[in-house]
C-alpha cells in the first residue's frame, strides 16, 4: 500500500510545484486588480477584463506581432544555414573538431558579452530599434545552437541512404535536397520549433537592441513593472498570452524530436 502511495505522493508534490505557479497566474489573470493581491487568495469575480485591457490600453498586440516576426524571421534564416553547417560538419568534417568547438564557444559566453559589441555595431549600421537588427541578433544564438543540434540528425544512417542515392545517379546537391533533407525532416522541424521558442523567449538582446516600436513580448511584459509597482493582474494576463504559443508548439516539438532521433528506417 505504502509502496503504491509513496510514488504517487512524490509525483503529486512535484506536479504541484510545477503547476501551481501556472494555476496561480491563471487565477490572477482572471481576477480584478484589488482581489489579485489578497492573501489568502480570493477568487472574486472571474472576468476577462485584464485580457481586454492589455490589448486595448497597451501596445500588446504590437509586441505580439513583433515577437512573431522576429521568431519566425530568425528561424527561417537560421534553419537552412544551420542545416548546411551541420551537414558540412557531419559529412565532410569541415574544420575538424576545433571549428565545431569554436561554433559552440559562442554559446558558452554569457549573452551580455555579445550584446555590447552588437549594440555598437548596430548603432553604426543603424540597425538599432529595428526588427531586422533583432533577427540578426537572435541568429547569434540560434545558428550555432541549431548547427550543433542538427549534426546529430545527419548521422551514419542517413549517410548510407545518401550513398545509395549517389549510386542511383543523384548529384551531391540532388542527394541533399531530395534525400537528406526529407529524411532528416522531423529533426529539422524539431530544431525549427526550438529555434522559434528560443527567439520567442529571448529577453536581453530584445531589451537592449529594440526600441518602443520594436519591443517583443518579453520586453513588453517587463514594462508592466512600473515605478508605481507591478500591475500583477495585467502582467499575469499578458504572460498567459505570451506563453500560449509555446504551449501549443511543445507537443509537436516533442513528437518530432523523438521521431527525428529515432529514424528507424534502416536495419
Amino acid at each position: 500500500m505504502v509502496a503504491q502511495l509513496l510514488p504517487h505522493a512524490v509525483l503529486i508534490a512535484f506536479s504541484a510545484a510545477i503547476l501551481l505557479p501556472l494555476l496561480w497566474l491563471l487565477r490572477v489573470a482572471l481576477t480584478d486588480k484589488t482581489t489579485a493581491y489578497k492573501i489568502p487568495p480570493e477568487w472574486g469575480q472571474a472576468s476577462i477584463g485584464n485580457f481586454v485591457e492589455i490589448f486595448t490600453g497597451y501596445p500588446f498586440f504590437n509586441y505580439f506581432i513583433n515577437s512573431v516576426t522576429v521568431a519566425i524571421g530568425a528561424t527561417v534564416i537560421a534553419l537552412p544555414l544551420a542545416a548546411a553547417i551541420a551537414y558540412a560538419f557531419a559529412r565532410y568534417n569541415t574544420g575538424g573538431m576545433s571549428l565545431r568547438l569554436v561554433v559552440l564557444s559562442s554559446q558558452m559566453l554569457p549573452p551580455v558579452i555579445l550584446v555590447l559589441p552588437l549594440f555598437t555595431l548596430f548603432l553604426k549600421a543603424q540597425l538599432l530599434n529595428s526588427l531586422v537588427g533583432l533577427i540578426a541578433a537572435h541568429l547569434t544564438i540560434s545558428l550555432p545552437f541549431l548547427a550543433w543540434l542538427l549534426v546529430a540528425f545527419f548521422d551514419r544512417n542517413i549517410a548510407l541512404v545518401e550513398e545509395a542515392a549517389r549510386v542511383d545517379g543523384a548529384t551531391r546537391l540532388q542527394t541533399f535536397l531530395r534525400i537528406t533533407l526529407p529524411v532528416a525532416a522531423p529533426g529539422i522541424l524539431a530544431a525549427g520549433l526550438l529555434s522559434f521558442i528560443l527567439s520567442w523567449n529571448e529577453f536581453l538582446f530584445a531589451l537592449i537592441l529594440s526600441g518602443p516600436q520594436t519591443n517583443t513580448l518579453p520586453v513588453g511584459l517587463s514594462s508592466f513593472q512600473t515605478h508605481r509597482g507591478v500591475d500583477i493582474s495585467l502582467l499575469s494576463a499578458a504572460t498567459i498570452c505570451a506563453i500560449l504559443p509555446v504551449f501549443v508548439l511543445l507537443p509537436f516539438m516533442r513528437r518530432y524530436l523523438i521521431k527525428g532521433l529515432s529514424l528507424g528506417a534502416l536495419k
Binding site: L160, V161, E163, A164, R166, V167, D168, G169
Partner: protein, 367 residues
C-alpha cells in the same frame, strides 16, 4: 555489359591504415565474381572503390577499359545492393524503384513499364505503395535488389546483401540471385564473408586477406588447390585439417611422419617436396578425405581417439585426437557412431594430401 579491372588498387585510411594493398583483378564481362574474406580484409572497401563511394589512394579502376578513378558514382552506370539495403525511408517502394529512373529523365510510361516488370520479376507487385519500414527484412532486400535491377545498369555490386536474412531465406535468395545472373548475363561483383555463398554463387572467387588477394579461381579449383593454409582453413566447414608433420623415412622423403604413423608419399608429392627432405611440413587433409573404410585406391591408416561425434543428419563429423595430441575432423557416413574415448581407425586418401610450407603457409606444388 562491363568488364571491371583493378590495377595496383590501394586504399590507405589516414596515415597508415592500409585497407586495400595494391591488388590486381580482372572481372570478365558477364562474370559472377565473389570477393570472399573475413571481416576487415578489404573486400567491402574494394567494392566501394569500384562503386565510387570511396576515393582511391593509388592504382586504377577500369570499366570497359576506361579509367574511372575520378568518375562520379552517378556516372559509372553501376548499381549497388547494400548490406543494410539503404532504402529511401521517406519514399514508397515504387518511389524507391523510380528514383534513379526519374533522375535520368526517362518518360513516365517507360518508368511505369520498368517498375511493373521488375516488381513482377521479384514478386513485390503488391508492396509498391508501402514504405520501407512497413516491410519485412526479406521484402526490403527484394526492394533493394529491385532498385538495382530496374535501372538496367552495366554491372551489379552486391555488398553482403544476404547477411541480414535468416538462414532459410538466405538459401532461397542465393538460388534466386544465381538464376537472375543467368537470366540477365550481367557482370556481378558480390562481396561476402560466407564461404557457402562464395562456393555456390561464384563463377570465380577472389579470396582476400589483410587487404591483399590470396587466390583467384573457380570455386572447385580453389577448393581443391588452396594456395595457402589461410584459404585451406577458410573455404569449408569443417575446414581442412592442418597438421604439423615432418618429412622422413630412409631418404627423408619417403613418407610424411605423424608419429607414430608415417604416410607414404606418392611420386608426384616427392617431386613437389624436392629439397625438403627431413624438414618440417604442414600436412593438409580435407575431412571428407578421411574414412573409416579404405575407400580410396591408395590409402594409409591412422588411429585416433574419439573426442566428439557431431551428428549433422546427412553426415557425421568425427573429431579425433592423434597420438601426438593434434586434432583432426573427419566427415563420415550418417550411420557412424563411436563413444568418446574409444579408438577409431581412419583411412587417408593419399591422392588428396596437401602440403604447405610450415613457415610461409604457401602450398607446396610441383613447379
Amino acid at each position: 555489359m562491363a568488364e571491371i579491372g583493378l590495377r595496383n588498387l590501394t586504399k590507405v585510411y589516414g596515415q597508415d591504415v592500409t585497407a586495400v594493398d595494391s591488388i590486381d583483378l580482372d572481372v570478365r564481362d558477364g562474370e559472377f565474381m565473389v570477393l570472399l574474406g573475413p571481416s576487415g580484409c578489404g573486400k567491402s572497401t574494394t567494392l566501394r572503390m569500384i562503386a565510387g563511394l570511396e576515393a582511391v589512394t593509388s592504382g586504377e579502376i577500369m570499366i570497359d577499359g576506361d579509367v574511372v578513378n575520378d568518375v562520379d558514382p552517378a556516372e559509372r552506370d553501376l548499381a549497388v545492393v547494400f548490406q543494410n539495403y539503404a532504402l529511401y525511408p521517406h519514399m514508397s517502394v515504387a518511389g524507391n524503384l523510380s528514383f534513379g529512373l526519374k533522375l535520368r529523365k526517362l518518360p513516365r510510361d517507360e518508368i511505369d513499364r520498368r517498375i511493373a516488370a521488375t516488381a513482377d520479376m521479384l514478386g513485390i507487385g503488391d508492396l509498391l505503395k508501402r514504405r520501407p519500414r512497413q516491410l519485412s527484412g526479406g521484402q526490403q532486400q527484394r526492394v533493394a535488389l529491385g532498385r538495382a535491377l530496374v535501372r538496367d545498369p552495366a554491372a551489379f555490386l552486391f555488398d553482403e546483401p544476404l547477411s541480414n536474412l535468416d538462414a532459410k531465406l538466405r538459401a532461397a535468395m542465393r538460388t534466386e540471385l544465381i538464376k537472375l545472373h543467368r537470366m540477365l548475363g550481367k557482370t556481378i561483383v558480390h562481396v561476402t564473408h560466407d564461404q557457402v555463398e562464395a562456393m555456390t554463387m561464384g563463377e570465380r572467387i577472389c579470396i582476400m586477406r589483410d587487404g591483399r588477394i590470396v587466390q583467384v579461381g573457380p570455386p572447385l579449383e580453389v577448393y581443391r588447390n588452396p594456395a595457402d593454409t589461410f584459404v585451406a582453413g577458410f573455404l569449408a566447414s569443417p575446414p581442412m585439417n592442418l597438421l604439423d608433420a615432418r618429412l622422413g623415412g630412409e631418404t627423408g622423403l619417403d613418407e610424411v611422419e605423424l608419429p607414430p604413423v608415417g604416410l607414404p608419399l606418392l611420386a608426384r608429392h616427392k617431386e613437389a617436396l624436392q629439397g625438403r627432405a627431413g624438414g618440417a611440413i604442414t600436412l593438409g587433409i580435407r575431412p571428407e578425405d578421411l574414412d573409416v573404410e579404405p575407400s580410396a585406391a591408395q590409402h594409409a591408416a591412422m588411429t585416433v581417439t574419439v573426442v566428439a561425434v557431431e551428428a549433422l543428419g546427412p553426415e557425421v563429423i568425427l573429431v579425433g585426437a592423434l597420438p601426438g595430441g593434434q586434432e583432426v575432423s573427419a566427415r563420415l557416413e550418417s550411420d557412424f557412431a563411436a563413444p568418446a574415448g574409444s579408438e577409431v581407425q581412419l583411412h587417408v586418401d593419399l591422392e588428396r594430401l596437401h602440403f604447405f610450407d610450415t613457415d610461409t603457409g604457401r602450398a607446396v606444388t610441383a613447379s
